[in-house]
Amino acid sequence: MTMRNNLRRIRPWQLALTAAVMALPPIPSAPAVNGFAFVRAAHAEDKKLDTSRLVSVGGDITEIVYALGEENRLIARDTTSIYPEAALKLPNVGYMRALSPEGILAMNPTAIIAVEGSGPKEALAVLKNASVPFETVPSPFTRDGILAKIDRVGTLLGVPDKAKALEAKVGADLDAAVADAEKRPEAERKRVLFILSAQNGRITASGTGTAADGIVKLAGAINAVGAFPGYKTLTDEAIIEARPDIILMMNRGDGAGTRNEDLLAQPAIALTPAGENKAIVRMDGIYLLGFGPRTAAAARELNAAIYGG
């Protein structure tokens, strides 16, 4: 076998062409997914939303559909929809941020109602092209946010009266819970540290703009770490500095996560008032952070757990 140098056959123009193509940025999204001649999507923008076969994405949205008594329209849910128990019987189309377009289309839905932040964008583009209406519902972590969510879902389902009734009930419930919590004088308010995870002794806690921050405020307590947005891993000194009276954690239910005694054994935690009093509160994650119809009850329960109601 001769080892002739075949590489010499490459001409400079070939290299130049290669370089030119590689310098081209990927083609911008001109005709995103509707560039295929065989597919002519029949757009039905002006028609009323048909929710007879509904896919619900987001635990809070699913919960509201059930609370409105409209669960007979549901044909599928996402991974985060685990309440009420009956929802678990529905087919699961995947995690809200990693939806599978074919999986959803296979269910023959007439509409999809999803909480803000569902995706990915490519999946949404395909669904849009298949003329399946995809409605997004914003989800701020406040009292008004919950009511707006109920209102929007009710409007989309075409049951505004039921939604108004549920809003009135949930709103009154929330107001009562907040009013009860407000009675406590400022000086007696306790500082709550919500710990998302405590893996390997690294404490990840919730700052502002999170569901945990929202529920702690509704329960009439103070977020012990209100100086940063989102979830962050804290240094030991920042935890001691935060002086939490109560540590709040999610109940994982599956035995995973960090055990109370392991958490209390950490020097930083042990030096806080919460550590000294072994004051750790655990609640179901979806119930505590879902910001749906059950949030008033969750706020009351948290309030009772914090102040010994």
């Binding site: 080892m3 140098n5 075949n6 590489l7 056959r9 490459i10 290299l15 062409l17 290669t18 370089a19 193509v21 590689m22 940025p25 990927p26 083609i27 911008p28 999204s29 001109a30 005709p31 995103a32 997914v33 560039g35 295929f36 065989f38 597919v39 002519r40 999507a41 029949a42 599928a76 991974t79 087919p91 699961n92 995947g94 995690y95 941020r97 990693a98 939806l99 599978s100 377009p101 074919e102 999986g103 959803i104 289309l105 296979a106 023959n108 932040g117 995706g119 990915p120 964008k121 490519e122 999946a123 583009a125 395909v126 092209n129 298949a130 003329s131 999170t210 947005p229 989102g230 979830y231």
Partner: protein, 370 residues
């Protein structure tokens, strides 16, 4: 897979004669061509299999026979599933699998190291940095890019990051027109660490929603396959492939060492230039289109080397075919195992490929008495 004829002959108890050695070489060539022919059939089959299977009951035959007929809502739905979801996924999957497997083969040949993978030239860490930058700063600092590319801003950023890292690494490792493989490996480690540090900083800045996006991106998926993505990735990958026929003999010679190859008349430096730029472009385009899909680039070349021997003239086309069809099969599993949801494809390639690779390794070990 049938036992390679060459393997059987190697265990003959009598010493090799000139004639049997020649015959052995002929047999090996014939066997390699047979394997490539089988892989072509396998690739066609994998394509058909991918387009006809999925979470829904959409049928290709129905769609094609209804093409001329009237449009109902259901037939429109099925058409979209076949032509806008399954077909682009099959094509993109094949392209990316082929690109990763071929890049892995070229890298392992060039560095004479069976552990080399396409990420070795820094393209993976650079692409990750580009993608993470886009995910975390998408709304703010990187907004102009987003406005320009729309939903393809993320792949564009990943591709740019991968290419920039590779070119930088290449400049560092090249002195007086000579690229040193050793310098490149070491500089690659340093640059990857740097990119990782910047990525880490961005991850620290990310909110929990962005963190989830990052997690899914790093696991890789063909879920975002669209015709537009194919139009963006295919030219880059296919153009990189055009250099391959010119490289096979050079890569064969380089197995004896760079100096030996040089004295055999191989333009070693030019070979390196073409290989590194080509691998960076193809891998960059693949990572950009589908996120991080590991394993294919490192394992496919090994499987082939065990099956048809180390001759790059056969290895390169076989790697393209095997890598492409394996990734398509992995994607079918990803789409159907947990339907109507889907798994990230990286999980499948590792979970199925890992044990299979070990099995082959153990089988070979006992046969070759290594």
């Amino acid at each position: 897979m049938a036992l390679p004829q060459a393997m059987m002959e190697r265990r003959l108890p009598f010493p090799m004669t000139e004639i049997s050695a020649n015959r052995q070489a002929g047999d090996r060539t014939r066997f390699a061509l047979l394997v490539i022919a089988l892989l072509v059939i396998g690739s066609v089959f994998s394509m058909l299999f991918s387009v006809t299977t999925g979470a829904s009951d959409a049928s290709v035959l129905d769609v094609i026979s209804n093409m001329a007929g009237s449009e109902t809502a259901l037939s429109t739905r099925d058409r979209i599933i076949i032509f806008d979801i399954r077909l682009p996924r099959a094509i993109l999957g094949f392209l990316i699998g082929a690109s990763l497997a071929v890049s892995g083969t070229v890298m392992q040949g060039l560095f004479r190291n069976p552990l080399a993978d396409p990420g070795l030239v820094g393209v993976s860490s650079g692409a990750s940095l580009g993608a993470v930058t886009m995910i975390v700063l998408g709304g703010g600092l990187a907004a102009p890019l987003e406005a320009l590319f729309g939903i393809y801003a993320l792949p564009a950023a990943a591709f740019g990051g991968g290419l920039v890292t590779t070119l930088l690494l290449y400049r560092i490792a090249t002195r007086h027109g000579q690229t040193s493989a050793a310098t490149m490996l070491l500089a690659g480690i340093a640059l990857s660490a740097l990119a990782l540090a910047m990525t880490g900083l961005l991850i620290y800045m990310a909110n929990d929603q962005q963190l989830r996006d990052l997690t899914f991106w790093s696991m890789g998926s063909l879920a975002g396959a669209t015709w537009t993505k194919i139009a963006a990735a295919a030219p880059i990958i296919l153009l990189s492939f055009t250099a391959l026929p010119f490289m096979a003999r050079g890569l064969n010679a380089i197995t004896l060492g760079e100096a030996a190859a040089f004295h055999m008349g191989v333009a070693v430096q030019r070979l390196k230039n073409v290989a590194i730029v080509g691998v960076a472009a193809a891998t960059g385009a693949s990572v950009a289109a589908s996120g991080g899909i590991g394993f294919v680039g490192i394992v496919v070349p090994h499987i082939l080397r065990m099956a048809i021997g180390p001759d790059h003239r056969f290895m390169l086309p076989a790697a393209a075919l095997l890598g492409g069809s394996l990734l398509i099969f992995a994607d079918v599993l990803a789409r159907t195992l947990v339907a109507p949801a889907e798994l990230p494809i990286g999980i499948i390639t590792a979970a199925v490929g890992g044990p299979f690779f070990l099995w082959i390794l153990l089988k070979q070990r006992s046969r070759l008495a290594l």
